[in-house]
């Protein structure tokens, strides 16, 4: 069973790869290879310049030489000037300047033989110069880089228009100094799939992208997290218009590693699939044969229907990919046998979600419906909560729910936004839950004071009905001991939980370079929260200040205060983030 599923998932991954590669072959690849005495890249302008013995090779083999070169990566246009020589299978020309406009499929040229003219070439057809055709007024203009410092200094670059630039023998400006790296890639693609991340969270992550092509990106990462400390990691991206694969090893330099693969493919405008595979492996040394490994896989299929969507999600968990561990590690079941080895836990859901609909044709009342069918399997019991021992290994359930809401309603200077959500879930172990969420928001903008105020009242309830077994399902818990202490739960709690909360927020934005966002929340929960077990801090305050320290860098400082819940006042540290 285990091998069959593993095989199935691996086959799916191969299908992803092969089909995506087949699509990639149909797209013509174009690139510009540049060598020069110096090649510079200006990050905040996305401009590449090259000076001294510049040699530019186009993807059709044409070589253009000149004294200076500049390319605006965002506008996707380039300029070569000074003693320009064009040499290709069908052209040998000298001139003063050449300007390439790939988006217009035009190359503009000022020949220097005879009387000066303006030539225009279509695409890479160098046979017909189209003499005297109108040219853009700024075709031969150099960008103004006065006062700019290059982020990268190199001796060569390979530019894939609208995608990336790979610099050779690069010096990268880092913390006030230029650090040498053999290759360094800059990605400026409008395709966000290049930036899909296969790493778990970390306190710090510095990427060193060292290789790139029209459809790939390879990077080393220097990362730091609380568990592993500082370490190296690696990820590899393959990206196409409608598909991507990201593979990562994290950490690369520690004994315990995670191997992650993300896959996505859009087969048609109304059908897409996602795959996530993760293997965790551990063993002695950096280069080793793992002695233990676990795996996780998630497959998701999404389809668009008529004014609705259908989504299937399946999770699989493999605790023992390398077989049963040593007996001393398995001390609960039979001392030597864990049935999860053969029957790994899994769960699956099939959900249908409707589009937004109007309840009445002339009233701004909107609603969305949803229904879910799901199951879960775990040999040690699943879905038997809260108090059935031993719980059954399989759980089947179905859900129906919907949301009723409006967009903001103007009430004089105020905006009123109500919403109501309700969801019923029925389980095969005979019980059902009824979850409700009612939210009312009132906001007002004080334009002259640059302040926005928001007040929200929300009531959420989750009722777990067990019928005649209600009291057995929810007995008095008595005293619960958690790492934060011992707490007595209320006798009255019998499975019907409520959370009522007020949240007030103020946003002060005197200029576009400074923002203060303050939020205070007060929750009245039943049963009362038990730190480390369930519940949320009754009082929560969050402060967020954003300001610019330079034209390019904005600092975001956040911190929360919990009013001594679980002996915690201020959150342990500031959240600090730098952004453009």
């Amino acid at each position: 069973m285990l091998h069959m599923r593993t095989l199935g998932l691996l086959t799916l991954a191969c299908i992803f790869f092969v089909s995506a590669t087949a699509r990639a072959g149909a797209v013509p690849s174009t690139s510009l290879d540049i060598t020069a005495n110096s090649v510079d890249f200006f990050y905040n302008r996305y401009i590449v310049t090259a000076d001294g013995n510049v040699r530019l090779r186009l993807s059709d083999g044409t070589v253009i030489r000149g004294e200076t070169f500049t390319m605006d990566l965002k506008l996707n246009r380039y300029l070569m000037a000074g003693d320009v020589h064009i040499d290709g299978p069908t052209i040998h020309q000298t001139g003063a300047a050449l300007a390439g406009y790939p988006d217009l499929d035009r190359t503009y040229f000022l020949p220097a033989a005879g009387t000066p003219e303006r030539d225009t070439y279509y695409g890479l057809n160098w046979k017909d110069p189209h003499v005297g055709r109108e040219q853009p007024g700024d075709a031969y203009h150099f960008p103004d880089l006065t006062g700019e410092r290059p982020y990268i200094k190199a001796v060569g670059a390979r530019i894939v228009p609208k995608t990336n630039a790979l610099f050779t023998r690069a010096l990268v400006y880092t913390a006030g100094a230029y650090l040498p790296v053999p290759h360094y890639a800059i990605v400026f693609s409008a395709n966000s799939h290049f930036f899909e991340n296969a790493f778990p969270g970390a306190r710090a992550d510095v990427g060193i992208p060292f290789n790139a092509s029209a459809h790939s990106l390879s990077a080393l990462h220097v990362r730091n997290d609380a568990f592993n400390g500082t370490y190296l990691a690696f990820d590899q991206h393959f990206v196409w218009d409608n598909a991507y694969i990201v593979a990562a090893i994290d950490p690369l330099t520690q004994e315990q590693r995670q191997y992650n693969v993300l896959g996505y493919e859009r087969f048609s405008p109304k059908f897409e699939s996602r795959l996530f595979l993760q293997e965790s492996a551990g063993g002695p040394g950096i280069i080793y044969q793992p002695i233990n490994a676990a795996g996780y896989g998630q497959l998701q299929l999404n389809a668009g229907l008529h004014r609705s969507g259908l989504s299937y999600t399946e999770d699989n968990y493999w605790q023992y990919l390398l077989g049963i561990p040593e007996p001393q590690f398995d001390t609960i079941a039979t001392n030597s046998y864990d049935p999860r080895w053969r029957e790994h836990p899994m769960d699956a859901t099939l959900s249908w979600t409707g589009y937004e609909n109007r309840l009445f044709s002339h009233a701004p009342l909107l609603f969305r419906l949803r229904t879910i069918v799901g199951m879960a399997h775990d040999i040690y019991g699943y879905g038997g909560f809260p108090n059935e021992l031993p719980p059954p290994p399989d759980s089947f359930y179905h859900t129906f729910g919907g949301t009723l809401y409006t967009s903001g309603l103007k009430l004089g200077p105020y905006t009123f936004t109500p919403s109501y959500d309700r969801q019923w879930t029925w389980f095969n172990v005979p019980h059902e839950t009824d979850a409700r969420d009612a939210r009312l928001s009132l906001s007002r903008s004080f334009a002259r004071q640059h302040v926005n105020a928001l007040l929200t009242y929300e009531v959420r309830t989750t009722d777990d009905y067990w019928g005649a077994a209600q009291l057995a399902a929810y007995p008095n818990y008595g005293v619960i001991t958690t790492p934060f202490g011992s707490y007595t739960t209320p006798d009255a709690f019998r499975g019907l939980a409520t959370s009522r909360g007020w949240t007030g927020g103020l946003v002060y934005t005197p200029t576009q370079y400074f923002t203060v966002n303050l939020q205070l929340a007060r929750f009245y929960d039943f049963p009362v929260p038990v730190p480390g077990y369930f519940g949320q801090p009754p009082w929560q305050f969050t402060g967020d200040i954003r300001f610019r320290i330079s034209r390019q860098v904005q600092v975001d400082l956040t911190r929360a205060y919990y009013f001594n819940f679980a002996n915690q006042r201020w959150s342990p540290q500031f959240g600090i983030q730098f952004s453009p």
Binding site: A112, G132, G137, F194, P418, A435, V507, Q577
Partner: protein
Amino acid sequence: MRRRMAVVLTAVAVLFLALPSLAQPQGTLVRFTGQLLDVRNGYVYFSSGDAFKLSPSYTVADYDTGASTTLRPAPKVFARAVLDPATKEVVELDLTTRRLASDSAYSPDVQQAIATKPSTVTAPEIKGVAVSGREVAVEFIVTVPPSTPINAEVYISTDAGGWNPQEIKLDRVEGDRYRAVRRLASGTRFVFRVTRGSWNSVEVGQDGLEVPPHAFFVKESDAQSASATVYAWSDNRSGAPQPAQPGAVPTPFNPNPFGGSPLYPPSRATPPGGFPTPRPGQPPNRPG
């Protein structure tokens, strides 16, 4: 004899002194300023695409002092060409590395001196709007689905910012709306997506499928607004409340308790004997 010698020498001296003035162009000189592309084959080329014929005896001088200079005519150097309308040739190039404003209006004399053959065929593919690059206040307004938690953080991620999923943080200003203002140069063209801080929680369409990014162009105006409506998030396509994990009491505030339950069997993520992986007791580590 001496007298004749003196007369001849005087005549030679007068001729020598007079020659330069004879070589001076007739009429008023005109000037054209811009950035050089190249000096080649008897012509000087400017970044405007215009070429002017060089006089065989043209001189090179410093732009500021008029004295001789070591600067040579080369690409990117700024120059003022002194033209003789009579010969339509450049008689002097004044060079500097200091940035000079290029001439955009041409006097009739300069117009006539341009050696480049005129364009005779229009190019319909060349079109566009004139932009100055001035700063424009762009207001991002994002409407979120009603299931979005009231304290959720919402961000804008753009291709211009390298698709950082936390690039522009928005503030909740209404029950279902977030807002932020940025100053962007007119003419800026970018695409953006709305996230909740990571690519695991990015906006999706009403049918749950990935949506193309929103395209935006900063026009030549005082202020602009970029609006987007999010119907669902990729980590909760149906907008349903998060189900409780096994072993957890189902409450509205406890879908994923941060502590293990002391009362019930351990959850699926924690096998007997402990998790044999690097992160004991944690669910699978989804990328951020």
